[in-house]
Amino acid sequence: MEYKIKNIGDQAISIYFENKIDISINQSVHYIMDHLKAMSLVGIKGYVPAYQSLMIYYDPYILKEIILKDILTNLADNLGPLTTDNKLGYRIPVLYEGSELAYVADYHGMPINEVIERHTKPNYYIYFLGFAPGFPYLGGLDPKIATPRLEQPKIKIEEGSVGIADHQTGIYTISCPGGWQVIGKTPLKLFRENSCALEAGKYIQFYAIDQKTYDMLKDNDDGAIRLEVLK
């Protein structure tokens, strides 16, 4: 796989793979991060994996730049077998509702039920967590329900909102401003004080629930989401 290693100022180094959104490229990013973590190199402060890049924050007082680059090169030149399509992931319950759900349906000239069907069918790959704590960047949205962002972003999108923005879909893990079309909400609290429920490299499958189930799950939420093999 082709790659480039770049200095990011004097406090980080990034490795960039080919400039596209692709699962196997992303799995290489996670492979390198996982291996670096396993090495427990003294002097590495943190990691930011993204679609096709990995940024590594390090302390140049402790770990020399040339050594880190050497290790990175070695890993990138010797990528191991990447994950197969054994789809390990999370099932996320969603109460599909709201005016934007109707808007999305209308925009595509299809009934609301079809939007829900198309949204719950795929197994979405989690490329990485970013933008907000625990916020998953998902791939695999059915292009037939891809919908442009809101013209005017909202000052606040509630935590738990499930939305669509162009070809992306995702879940707001904290309340914050945003321009996504919110088509439903999940009762699960995916980001907590000291833990993040979702892990990059896994998959997500949404399934529809009713208000009663939503209320029950919300009351009984202990934050635990099981990892299972998705069909």
Binding site: K6, N7, I8, G9, D10, Q11, A12, S14, Y16, N19, K20, I21, M33, K45, G46, Y47, V48, P49, A50, Y51, Q52, S53, L54, M55, Y57, P60, Y61, K64, E65, I66, F128, L129, G130, F131, A132, P133, G134, F135, Y137, T173, I174, C176, F191, E193, N194, C196, A200
Partner: protein
């Protein structure tokens, strides 16, 4: 064991608990947060004998007032302004031993905009989150229940048995000179999307001045100046955003990403501010003009020889972080030296004992 307690009488515009930042949660999308001016934060802790990552309080635009209910060893660093213990004016960048009931108070910042209050001892503020006490307000993480510090709030700190009264002074002529200038030079390392910009765009970036806009905050410093043109789209496949990364969206106006920035983003970045110059950005106020300089020099720290020199110095100072010795830092000096035909820019702290 002394238990000191401070009480906020006036928090000013934005007062939060910070430390040197949160790195353990970056891969989960949790921003770094922490001190905007990491240098002033480190020095505040050093002045009171705390280890460098001890939590402290960051204040914005001065106008704070804090009462101490017990004896305490404190120091306030950062922006220059009038600082008082009760009605007596004192110096910033110097440590003081307070008596029970003493109130420290600061008026407006005269030069710069952020201050750091370090108090000797262990801060009793619960457990760190994802390895840090830094406050990330939007996510409700860290600090005091993930919130800003408000009027009336009390914070307990467990001090030493006999806090050694250390009258130490840090005389940072370079830093103070920088605070006083409204035109500031900022060293930048180019990239990672440097080839997305036109040659003329890059030329503008390194020759024009960019003015700091009032809509700047802990997330980013917004700038206005000559448009930086693109030759490739300003929207990219999201990648990581470093502390001091300079984003340039299609508007051509740069934004310097700071402590509370999102971990990843989809705009082209022309360069990254060198970490030594980040305090310049942290203390910039609306109206200041930044002049970016392309820094080809490899950071001194990445070279073998420099590494050893500075590591030894750092070890000497870590003696300061323990309790006994009165370690007085009299002065910080900067030198340009040449070793084996290579140039280095080094910082030296002159200790009292050495004179």
């Amino acid at each position: 064991m002394i238990q000191t307690q401070l009480e906020i009488i006036k928090p000013g515009i934005l007062m939060t608990i910070q430390d040197q930042g949160r790195y353990e949660g970056l891969h989960l999308g949790i921003p770094q947060s922490g001190c905007m001016d990491t240098y002033a934060g480190i020095m505040a802790n050093r002045l009171v004998g705390n280890s460098r990552n001890t939590p402290l309080i960051e204040m914005t635009f001065g106008n704070f007032e804090i009462r101490f209910n017990h004896k305490a060893l404190i120091a306030v660093t950062g922006a220059l302004g009038e600082l008082f213990i009760n009605n007596t004016q004192i110096n910033l960048w110097e440590s003081y031993l307070l008596n029970p009931g003493d109130v420290i108070k600061m008026h407006d910042c005269q030069f710069g905009c952020r201050n750091y209050l370090a108090v000797q001892g262990e801060w009793m503020i619960g457990e760190p989150q994802y390895g840090s006490y830094a406050t990330y307000i939007r996510g409700g993480i860290g600090g005091l229940n993930g919130k800003t510090i408000s009027k009336g709030q009390q914070i307990s700190i467990r001090g030493q048995v006999n806090p050694v009264k250390r009258k130490v002074k840090a005389n940072n002529s370079v830093y103070f000179k920088m605070l006083r200038q409204s035109h500031k030079e900022v060293r930048v390392s180019l990239g990672p999307q440097e080839d997305s910009f036109s040659t003329l765009g890059i030329k503008h970036f390194f020759s024009e001045g960019y003015q700091v806009l009032p809509q700047s905050d802990r997330m980013g410093i917004r700038l206005s100046g000559k448009q930086i043109g693109h030759v490739k789209p300003a929207d990219i496949i999201s990648d990581g955003i470093a502390f001091g990364a300079i984003q340039v969206p299609s508007s051509g106006q740069p934004i310097i990403m700071m402590a509370d920035r999102q971990t990843t983003g989809g705009y082209t970045k022309i360069g990254t501010v060198l970490s030594d110059d980040l305090p310049i950005i942290a203390q910039a106020v609306a109206g200041d003009v930044l002049h970016f300089r392309n820094d080809f020099k490899t950071h001194a720290l990445t070279n073998d020889i420099a590494n050893d020199t500075i590591n030894d110095t750092a070890k000497a100072f870590s003696g300061c972080d323990d309790n006994e010795t009165g370690c007085s830092i009299l002065e910080t000096r900067y030198y340009d030296i040449n070793v084996n035909k290579k140039n280095f820019h080094i910082m030296v702290e002159v200790l009292e004992d050495s004179l």
